[in-house]
Subunit: 248 residues, 2 copies
DNA sequence: TCACCAAGCTAACGTAGGTTATGAATTATA
DNA sequence: TATAATTCATAACCTACGTTAGCTTGGTGA
């Protein structure tokens, strides 16, 4: 998997926005795959930052261990996602990142990206990726602040569903989700007991059927209606002016 | 105020990182000031995106009105902050932005920025700004998720204090903060009643003295210790490699 | 100076969700 | 196949915070 296969670049590409030159630059970034075992740590908070990673297989997550013993998860990374943009512009990692299940990641250095910046307009793609991730976090912020656990979990599941659908990892409204309820609770800022309770509610209502790591949403749109999902931050293409720039 | 006077660019500048050429480019962005009255709206959610703004005077905030009638505030913008980076890469605004008190803002178009991208390495500065804002949000996420209202408010006040100190708006541990308790409650995701309760606690403990829009923190470091404040996302300079790039 | 209104304080009461605990189901390891 | 370790479900109890309400304070304008 090369950088061109990541979410944003793929989006650019399908719009025919990338010039041959820019494509060549992206493909030129040699991405040597690294095989990761489950719960293997990519990096720890406060380590020096020197690289991004593209997830090729498996799921990963960024988190911070808090002084009170609990853990806050910021983001889950699915295949095609770029990890580490958050730390771009800082000398040290702001969060730790670890694999959830086993998988494959492809690291590439900041240095390589700098060289791109100097030679091409691809920077906008990176900026766009960064803002997209920020937008995802912002949506989470809303649900943390103002909605009940029921609505939070609904929103979370629907977001995962949409992201997996984008990478063709949903079949018959079913998908593989290697998350324990404890991981979910760390992401949503609630207790794992309450995650369980809330899953029970969703199950009784027939909205979510879950068997371990296998999730089925009989009627995904019903979930979306429950939370009035704002999917522009996931689905939207780049504005036309971006495409123009990238063709040059 | 030109773009060069914004937080990140100022940081770059004081490190001697900006080449003459890049400085000239930044200064060339004519920023015509616009005088804003209190609670005037800069833009609404879903409007077309076409510009950033630099806050010259006054405070502003980004927010979204929720279907349940409440409001979630994402960010407060102080003088020197750039508003609108969040929307860069999207065709429509993700949040509304309004002034809190009266002030002055300087808009500049995305188009102008694109031209910079094509001609210089300044993109890294923008990326860095975007990631810094993201980092701020991430910290808020932690406090929303895992900490009590007391700790949240403490963290919030200390963050404002630090940001104001950076722009020399703190004197004798005192500063001007034009926020009502209701605005704070919308930002922290709690009720305004509970914000008041929590302020009372902080007052009784002698940690925060507040008279309307005037705040004094007799011992700021005491607050920092309470929340183990991670200030790297506010204070840290850019990594050396960025500076190198920007000199060219 | 008075009237008005927004902002803030405090109290009383209700509830969503935290905590602790126990047991069942599932997976991993020997 | 037995044993241990996770993961999940459900119950009982508790608390931080939301909600509603009534009062005080301070700023603003005629």
């Amino acid at each position: 998997m090369s950088l061109i296969d990541t979410e944003v670049m793929r989006g650019l590409n399908t719009q025919g926005a990338l010039s041959h030159e820019n494509k060549a630059l992206l493909l030129g970034l040699e991405l040597t795959p690294r095989y990761m075992s489950a719960s293997e740590v990519l990096w720890q908070e406060r380590e020096d930052t020197d690289q991004f990673c593209v997830v090729k297989e498996g799921w990963a997550y960024s988190y911070r261990n808090l002084k009170n013993g609990s853990k806050q998860i910021f983001n889950f990374y699915l295949p095609g996602d770029i990890i580490g943009i958050r730390d771009f512009g800082f000398t040290r990692r702001l969060t730790s990142v670890a694999m959830i299940n086993k998988g494959v990641i492809c690291p590439f250095s900041y240095q390589q990206l700098f060289e791109l910046f100097g030679r091409s307009s691809l920077a906008v793609g990176i900026v766009a990726t960064a803002t997209r991730q920020q937008a995802q976090l912002s949506e989470r912020l809303i649900y943390l602040g103002k909605y009940s656990a029921y609505e939070q979990l609904t929103h979370f599941l629907y977001e995962i569903y949409l992201r997996l659908k984008r990478i063709k990892a949903v079949e018959n409204n079913s998908f593989f989700m290697p998350l324990t309820q404890e991981l979910i609770s760390d992401a949503l800022g609630m207790s794992s007991v309450h995650v369980s309770r809330t899953f029970s509610m969703l199950r009784e209502e027939g909205l979510v059927i879950r068997k371990r790591q296998h999730v089925m949403l009989p009627d995904p749109e019903a979930l979306a209606r429950l939370v009035e999902f704002n999917d522009s931050y996931i689905d939207e293409f780049l504005p036309p002016s971006f495409s123009e720039l990238l063709k040059s």
